[in-house]
């Protein structure tokens, strides 16, 4: 491939039939290191755009994406210039996924690595069962954010809904706005220097300009780690 070809993005127009399958097949099988960036036109809420990519490719989705956009992503830098449906970047392994609008339910579910940036609001269950990825929400996050999250960090620049961090394991949440309620076994903890630098680092990646000291840390009280017969099933 010559240099001029590399500078031109490869364009996939999803308004044409069968292009979604062609796009994903091309990303999985045809793209080679040094290959072009990719533009996806007219996504119009289609499901499974750029899922399962395992290559350091830049992908711009120019519009609203449907379910599972950038799911299982490895290495790729994927930007959705619009909103995302359920399960954006679910089970991501590495790379950077940026949603310029809002993200529906379960964004970043069970993601192991990489960074998910949601510039708008995140709906319910963002970062559910998170396993090591980082998530930065520019707006507010809905109820049950970080439910049973095991590892990784979630930064919420706005407010959080009900049951934040319910049944949290070792993932840590940093929240700047109001919290409607904490979930079972989640608690506020003091911010120490490591927390401030973590928030600073993630805000810099996301491109958000907030004072790290304006965030509060939420982490597991670890009370649910061991069976407590005296709790009488009440937590």
């Amino acid at each position: 491939m010559n240099v001029s070809a590399i500078s031109q993005p490869q364009v996939f127009d999803l308004s044409r039939a069968e292009t979604l399958r062609t796009l994903n097949h091309w990303l999985h099988r045809e793209w080679t290191p040094g290959g072009p960036a990719v533009q996806v036109l007219n996504p119009d809420g289609a499901h499974s755009i750029a899922v399962g990519v395992d290559a350091p490719v830049d992908i711009d989705v120019l519009g609203h994406a449907g379910y599972y956009v950038a799911g299982m992503n490895k290495q790729a830098r994927i930007t959705v210039h619009g909103n995302a449906g359920t399960g954006a970047a679910e089970n991501m392994m590495s790379g950077l996924v940026r949603i310029k609008g809002f993200a529906s339910n379960s964004a970043g579910a069970s993601a192991h690595g990489g960074v998910l940036v949601i510039e708008g609001d995140a709906s319910l269950r963002c970062g559910i069962s998170l396993k090591g990825a980082d998530i930065v929400v520019g707006g507010s996050a809905g109820s049950f954010t970080a439910f049973m999250a095991q590892a990784g960090r979630i930064v919420i620049c706005g407010d959080a809904g009900e049951a934040l961090g319910d049944s949290l394991y070792e993932a840590v949440i940093y929240v700047r706005g109001k919290v409607t309620s904490l979930g079972a076994d989640a608690r506020f903890e003091p911010m120490i220097e490591n927390d401030l630098s973590a928030v600073r680092e993630l805000l810099a990646i996301a491109g958000f300009d907030h004072d790290p000291s304006s965030f509060r840390r939420v982490a597991s009280a670890r009370g649910l780690y061991h069976w407590n017969a005296d709790a009488n099933q009440e937590y």
């Binding site: 119009d44 809420g45 289609a46 609203h64 449907g66 379910y67 339910n105 709906s123 319910l124």
Partner: protein, 298 residues
């Protein structure tokens, strides 16, 4: 899984386009609900006239015989607009008098809806086929509600497809499932409220319509619904005035709203809204859990 769609025109100049714009919304939700589909349209009322939507459940329809029986037994002016297995009767009489003839004399005909504005079509099969069979694209009106069904709670039959109706000018479509429809039914039947099917959504529909008939505003009725109805739901409700939308507190079932100066469009997913004119400039949002939204034609 099911698909819900709804459209309310804010300006009379858009009313002619209601069916034309709703059909791609409905067909766009085929993957969410490939086994049945339906649509309720609210049109302009005509002075002194009520509409009764009927469906021939089994056998071949004989609408002439039905009209002869109605004209012989119910005083008033009646006319019929048949459309395949559906028929829309316009009558100056109380529609309950017409409905009363059906169980004895026409047991294969089921009443689907009654009111001064509502007309309703539903059937089994692919949404695109049903839309073509009943010429949904030609329907006009101020607002409409549609549904594509993937049955989980009762059999795949036309009368168990959505929308469900109760009372007059009231309908409801549902994405989700209720865990206590029989409890609700046992609460309502002693009050004289009769059920047509064993479908869970019908219980929600009849509960909310009962509350509104008892004097609750739609918000109050839905608030009581939060207590009475257990399960997952996104409900889209059509009334003579407009549309109401609500999701359960866990909001497992999706919904998205696109609002412009010309219309409010509601769907389970954005892919059903992408074709709408001006949608790129629309205000797009997901309805919050346990929050009641309603829109009426000003």
């Amino acid at each position: 899984m099911c698909g819900i769609v709804g459209l309310l025109m804010k300006k009379p100049s858009w009313d002619e386009r209601l069916g034309e714009l709703l059909v791609p919304m409905l067909c766009g939700m085929t993957e969410r609900g490939p086994d049945s589909a339906g649509m309720a349209v609210f049109g302009k009322p005509r002075e002194g006239e009520t509409r009764l939507s009927l469906f021939q459940l089994h056998g071949e329809p004989d609408w002439n015989r039905l009209m002869e029986a109605i004209r012989a037994q119910v005083p008033g002016q009646h006319r019929i607009e048949p459309s395949d297995r559906h028929a829309l009767i316009f009558t100056t009489a109380d529609p309950d008098l017409l409905r009363a003839l059906l169980p004895q004399q026409f047991p294969d005909i089921v009443p689907l809806a009654a009111g001064s504005r509502i007309q309703l079509y539903k059937d089994i099969g692919a949404p695109a086929d049903i839309a073509a069979r009943y010429r949904f694209q030609d329907l006009t009106g101020t607002h409409a509600v549609g549904h594509t069904r993937m049955a989980t709670e009762s059999a795949v039959t036309p009368d168990r497809a959505h929308p469900f109706t109760a009372g007059r000018d009231f309908c409801l479509v549902h994405n989700g499932s209720l865990s206590n429809p029989h409890l609700v039914r046992r609460q309502l039947e002693p009050l004289g409220i009769r059920f047509e099917t064993d479908n869970d959504t019908e219980a929600a529909c009849r509960f909310l319509e009962w509350r509104m008939r008892e004097g609750d505003a739609i918000d109050q009725a839905i608030e009581k619904g939060f207590e009475a109805l257990d399960g997952f739901f996104t409900f889209l409700i059509g009334t003579a005035d407009g549309l109401a939308l609500v999701r359960d507190p866990f909001a497992c079932k999706p919904a998205i709203v696109a609002e412009t100066d010309d219309y409010v469009a509601i769907s389970s997913e954005f892919r059903s809204l992408a074709h709408l004119p001006g949608v790129s400039k629309a205000k797009l949002f997901e309805p919050q859990p346990r929050t009641i939204y309603h829109w009426s034609r000003a």
